[in-house]
Every structure is written in structure tokens, then in C-alpha cells.
């Protein structure tokens, strides 16, 4: 969906902000760019929608080389969210959201319906918020509008530059959760710039860690935590988190709320509702395997309750699964989801910072 080939950016003053950057982001992926201030994250992001032109190299968006593309046209099909929010203060919330759909020539019925639908999606009651002005909203509410404004014209790609950094911690976490939830439903290609490793671990499908205009490691959150490429990455992730990976055992983060259901036969089991996966035990409580729509799945991996987080992370990574059955010897004792593991990684930095 987005591809960089040996992209360089040297600013007019001779500063090389981005150096020979090559990477690819697939459709539906949420990729975070992270790194210290000034490492070139914003520059990289703004080259995707041609707010900045690369000095050399080629950028492809949806298979097309954007060098010749019209910037305005390109940007109308790429959502854009910035830290300072930037809602138009003289327009109502509805007018703000409908701005690009209107410029794209949508009919009134269509964009009005879209505005209400989007407000509903982020929990802002349309009848109450439609005709308010941005300055009447709290920071968190304003950025919710910032996010849905970027979604309004249904762009396949969304760029977000530290969108939640300026918010208070509570709003920030709410918006992260909402974004994750929205992304789960709409599966856009999202490029998300942040300097907060917790945020990156929580949200990303893959994380690109940048330093001095280059990508140092581009990997999944699990891989980053379990096998950091070098000292820089280790520092970034933090020693406490790295230690946790081998010292914490699965037992500490078992999902407490996965119900054991009685399947009626001689099996009972844990059910993962969204995937309709069933993990079953026999009547003597030994684990009987994973079932999908009633059929047994061969070789579905499982993990022991006293295994460490690294083992779990590696399994999620290699097997590309979302949930693992957790066994105590041969008994099924619970389930571990990939989300739960990542949430745990993300949460660690904060606990470390507090102590």
C-alpha cells in the first residue's frame, strides 16, 4: 500500500533528515514510527502525502509512484491527524467533519449521514455535538473529532502524527482504545507517529524504530520486545520490560474472564467468541484441543502456565494466532490473547516509570 525505495530528504539548510529509507506497509496494517525527537518521523510521514517532497528515491502509494501525482488529489484520499488537532474554529463540528466530503462533491444527504455515523462511532451524541464549535469541546473530544474528520471521506490510508501526545493521560488511553477498536472494524492502512513506546506496543501491528533518519528495526511488537536488534532498541524498550519478558510467567496474566462453557457433550471448554474458536477439555479435565465451528484444528499450539512471556510472544509471532490455550500439565486452565500480552508490554513502561 505504501512503499519507500531509497528515499532521502535533505532540507534546504543541508540537514539530512531522512537517509536512504526503504520499507513497505501492507494494506490494513497499523504501523507506528517511533524514535527520539528529530529522528525524521514527521518528515517521513509528510512525504507519504506530499506535504514534503523527497530529495531522491521513490515513494509508491497504492502501487502508484507519487512523484508526478497531484498533491491535493493525493491528500484528499489520505486522512491526516496532527497533535495540535487543527479543527477549523469558525466551523461547527459537523462542518469540520464534512469539509473534505463536501470538497469532493458528496451530496448533502450522504455527508450528513456520514457525520452522524462518525460521531456515533466515537461516542459523541450527534444531536448534541453536530452544531457545537470546536472551542466548546474538551481536548479529548476535539481530537476524537480530529480522528473522525480524517475518516470522513473514507480514505484507505490515514496518517497520524503524535495524535494523542498533547492529551491528558486518561483521554490518551481512551483514544488509544477507541482507535484500536475502530481499526479492528475498518482495517485502514494507518501510519502512526509517536515517541511513546507504550503507545506503539499497544497499537501497532508493526513498529519502525528510527534513529538519525534511518530505520533501526522494523518488526512486530512481540519481536521487538523478545529480540531487540541492538543496544539502542534495548534502551528504547527499557530494561524492566526486557527482564519481564523472561521473568514473568504466563500464569500472571491469564484472562480471568474467559468463561468455561458446557458444550453439552463430554467436552467443556473456553470459548473465544469473535473467532468462534473453542478450546475444549474432556470429562476428566484433560485438554482435548482446539475446535473451529465444531471441527478439531490439528496442531493448534498451546503453552504451559509456567512458561515465560518470551515463549508466548514467539508463539504468537511464528504461528500468527490471536489466542493461546494455557495448560497446567495436561489440564486447560485458561486462555492468553495476543492483545493481553501486548497490553501487558505496553503497561510495563508506565509501572517502571512510577517506581
Amino acid at each position: 500500500m505504501i512503499r519507500f525505495e531509497k528515499v532521502n530528504k535533505t532540507y534546504d539548510d543541508g540537514f539530512e533528515a531522512v537517509k536512504s529509507l526503504s520499507f513497505e506497509i501492507s494494506k490494513g496494517e497499523l504501523v507506528t514510527f517511533i524514535g527520539p525527537s528529530g529522528c525524521g518521523k514527521t518528515t517521513t510521514m509528510k512525504m507519504i502525502n506530499k506535504l514534503i517532497d523527497p530529495t531522491s528515491g521513490t515513494i509508491y502509494v497504492d502501487g502508484e509512484n507519487i512523484t508526478q501525482a497531484n498533491g491535493v488529489e493525493l491528500r484528499r484520499n489520505i486522512g491526516y491527524v496532527i497533535q495540535q488537532i487543527g479543527l477549523l474554529p469558525h466551523m461547527t463540528i459537523a462542518e469540520n467533519i464534512a469539509l473534505i466530503p463536501k470538497l469532493k462533491g458528496w451530496h448533502k444527504d450522504r455527508y450528513e449521514k456520514r457525520v452522524d455515523e462518525l460521531l456515533d462511532m466515537v461516542g459523541l451524541e450527534p444531536s448534541q455535538f453536530r452544531s457545537k464549535y470546536p472551542l466548546e469541546l474538551s481536548g479529548g473530544q476535539q481530537q476524537r473529532v480530529g480522528v473522525i474528520r480524517a475518516l470522513a471521506a473514507e480514505p484507505p490510508i490515514i496518517l497520524m502524527d503524535e495524535p494523542f501526545s498533547a492529551l491528558d493521560p486518561i483521554s490518551r488511553e481512551q483514544l488509544q482504545d477507541e482507535l484500536k477498536e475502530i481499526q479492528h472494524r475498518i482495517q485502514k492502512t494507518i501510519v502512526f507517529v509517536t515517541h511513546d513506546i507504550d503507545e506503539a506496543l499497544k497499537l501497532a501491528d508493526r513498529i519502525a524504530v528510527m534513529k538519525d533518519g534511518r530505520i533501526v528495526q522494523f518488526d512486530t511488537p512481540e519481536a521487538l520486545v523478545t529480540s531487540p536488534a541492538n543496544e539502542f532498541i534495548r534502551d528504547f524498550i527499557g530494561e524492566s520490560r526486557l527482564k519481564e519478558v523472561t521473568s514473568t510467567i504466563i500464569a500472571d496474566l491469564l484472562e480471568a474472564d474467559t468463561a468455561i462453557i458446557d458444550t453439552g457433550g463430554n467436552h467443556s471448554g473456553h470459548q473465544m467468541s469473535p473467532d468462534s474458536l473453542l478450546f475444549a477439555s474432556s470429562s476428566d479435565d484433560t485438554y482435548a484441543g482446539a475446535f473451529f465451528e465444531g471441527r478439531s484444528i490439528h496442531n493448534y499450539p498451546s503453552i504451559l502456565v509456567d512458561a515465560d512471556l518470551k515463549t508466548a510472544a514467539t508463539l504468537f509471532l511464528d504461528q500468527k494466532i490471536e489466542v493461546l490455550p494455557v495448560l497446567n500439565e495436561d489440564q486447560l486452565v485458561g486462555l492468553l490473547t495476543r492483545d493481553r500480552l501486548l497490553q501487558h508490554f505496553a503497561g510495563l513502561g508506565k509501572e517502571g516509570a512510577r517506581s
Binding site: 491528500r75 489520505i78 486522512g79 495540535q84 477549523l88 470538497l103
Partner: protein
């Protein structure tokens, strides 16, 4: 018997009402023609220098230099070029009106929150749409304040138009001065002051109206 002063003044106003009326019409014509031309020049110029900030100091500098020239002297300088009459008066008044409008347009535009412009551009608004949908609406109160300042200034300075033979309320004042007739001076000065206050009031109202709803204090 000596009449009380104010009765004497009312008497002057009554007998000179035609002159006062004519002076007022000329005065308004001169002032508004000048303001109108100044807006046509200074507004686009203000937008232009907000795009070419290096030139902003130069243009604003030039217009402020004109404003430091004493008004009467400036009218005088123009006579060799345009002769006497309406054209000279309007030219001088236009030049005086430029600075407030230019400076406020420029300041209004460059003080628009850059984040809003950045968001607009990032969403795919054209430069023209950024100007008409973001920058101008948000700087309108500034621009209106500039026009108000220019108007009050011009209505005042227009009393000097009579020295280049362009009439206006200044004519009554000038005639009053040269004939030692204070009542006549007042018959010109009071309507001129009234006009300035009146337009200040009206334009202040328009300025408040021009403030976008979302920016007014709730």
C-alpha cells in the same frame, strides 16, 4: 443687546444649512472613495505580503513613511503632480488609509493558527481554499478593525481637502477661520467630528458581527 452664544450658533447653522449639507456630502464622497480605493489596493497587497513575508516589512514601511508626512504638507506635495481638486484630495486620503488596512490584513492572516492551516493543507485543501475558507474568515475581525481605523482617520484628514480646492466640511472651517467667525468653524468641525464618531460606532458593530461565531466568547 448681545445674543447668547448658543443661539448665535444655532442661527449660523440655520442660515448655513445648505453649505453644511453640501460640505457633508462632499466630505463623505471624498472619504469613502478614498477608503474604497485603499481597500482595493491594501487588501490584496496584505494577502500578497502574507505569502511573501520578506516583502512585508518593505511595503508596510513604505506606507508608514507616508503616514509620517504631515497631512497638509502631503496635500501640498501632490498639487504639482495632480493640480488642485478632487483627484489630489482622494489620492492623498487613499495613501493615508493604506497603512491601517494593509497592516491589519497582514497581521490578521499571519496570526491565524498554523495548526489549522497545516490540517487544512494535509486534508487536501488547495491554497485558494485555505485562503478563502480559513485565513480570510479568521482574520476578518482584524481586517474590519483596519478599515475602521482608516475610516476614522480619513474622515478627520478630509477636512484638509479644502486647501486643494476639493471642498468638504473643511471649507466651512477654513472660511470661519479666515473671517474670525468661530461659529462657522464649529459649524464645520462639529459635523466632521460627528461623522468620525458615527462611523467608528457603526464599523465597530460590523467588526463584532464579523467575528466568527465559534471564536466569540461563550
Amino acid at each position: 443687546m448681545i445674543e447668547p452664544l448658543h443661539l448665535f450658533f444655532i442661527n449660523t447653522v440655520m442660515t448655513r444649512s445648505d453649505d453644511i449639507w453640501e460640505g457633508m456630502v462632499e466630505h463623505l464622497f471624498l472619504s469613502f472613495t478614498a477608503i474604497f480605493i485603499a481597500i482595493i489596493i491594501a487588501l490584496p497587497l496584505g494577502i500578497f505580503v502574507s505569502r511573501q513575508r520578506k516583502l512585508a516589512d518593505l511595503f508596510i514601511g513604505i506606507t508608514s513613511v507616508f503616514q509620517t508626512i504631515p497631512s497638509l504638507a502631503f496635500f501640498g506635495f501632490l498639487i504639482p503632480i495632480f493640480g488642485t481638486g478632487t483627484v489630489t484630495a482622494i489620492t492623498a486620503l487613499t495613501v493615508y488609509s493604506l497603512l491601517p488596512i494593509l497592516r491589519n490584513t497582514y497581521t490578521g492572516i499571519i496570526t491565524v493558527d498554523q495548526a489549522v492551516i497545516e490540517a487544512g493543507r494535509g486534508m487536501g485543501m488547495t491554497e485558494n481554499q485555505i485562503l478563502t475558507k480559513i485565513e480570510l474568515p479568521l482574520s476578518l475581525p482584524f481586517i474590519m478593525a483596519g478599515i475602521r481605523t482608516a475610516t476614522v482617520l480619513t474622515v478627520g484628514v478630509a477636512t484638509l481637502a479644502t486647501f486643494v480646492g476639493a471642498g468638504g466640511l473643511g471649507e466651512l472651517i477654513y472660511r470661519g477661520l479666515s473671517t474670525w467667525n468661530n461659529q462657522l468653524v464649529l459649524a464645520g468641525a462639529i459635523p466632521a467630528a460627528f461623522l468620525a464618531l458615527f462611523f467608528d460606532f457603526i464599523l465597530k458593530r460590523i467588526e463584532l458581527r464579523a467575528t466568527p461565531k465559534g471564536l466569540k466568547r461563550q
